[in-house]
Assembly symmetry: C2
Homo-oligomer: 136 residues x 2
Amino acid sequence: MKKTVLVFGLLILALLLLFQFSKYTLISGDLQIEYIMAFVALAFLGIGLFINKRTQKQRPLPNREIDLNKVEELGLSKREYEVLKEVALGLSNQEIAGKLFVSESTIKTHVSNLLVKLNAKRRTQAIQISKNLNII
Amino acid sequence: MKKTVLVFGLLILALLLLFQFSKYTLISGDLQIEYIMAFVALAFLGIGLFINKRTQKQRPLPNREIDLNKVEELGLSKREYEVLKEVALGLSNQEIAGKLFVSESTIKTHVSNLLVKLNAKRRTQAIQISKNLNII
DNA sequence: ATCTATTTGGTACTTTAGTATGAGCCTTCC
DNA sequence: GGAAGGCTCATACTAAAGTACCAAATAGAT
């Protein structure tokens, strides 16, 4: 938003400067009108392309954003959510335990709890549900 | 590629026409140089933005299309692939068996085979791998 | 400071998942 | 008409996953 305003401000400024410049050069007759025209055309073509790239960079998010609000709504604790993400990566309880430096029993407890909160019967179903809710 | 050449060809043509136009108007003195300049600037700004949008439209393909070729490459049979999709939906072997009207033993065999072909240790990992390969 | 929710962990148990092996039945492809 | 691959199913087993119940330490909020 602020960037857009800034860019357009600079554009207007550039336009005004170009007008002044063209006047002076026309009066003094140093430059031919064709060159000035070509310069202006290329400059604004470049500006157009530049704005294009800017807006392109801001785009790559339209797909899916993780909805952390829904995580709270579900009552998932921080640790449970962490375990859920590992489950979704395809890790076993044992592997998750090793990764998070806790025992397998702990992971089992977490998984069991998050299954209830997600209303899932299996971890594979939990993955599917989580994807539909955009929380992973 | 061809479109790019076409666009630039048209650009050059437009430039030449503008030059001719500016010469005539200058000679005849009908229009002031500032207006012509402003017109050229806006026109090329628009062209720049237009090119931008064109290239943007060509981008939205990185979304995700199911790559059936990769399914063949992996050597997954029709039935195995079918089972894989059900697994990814979070169903148990028993549920899949009921859905496809075969015994649970059959599903176990299919799952076991597809795990080998996908180089996965668990069905959850198979899901993850399949998503990365864009086959589900 | 007290209370609540979280995190951790254990035991004991049931249920799924996954492996190994063998076998019968089809279809397709030389 | 074999050979090969795919689909089906079974048994027997091992390995995970999941449930139930309990309990202690911790952190955060009131």
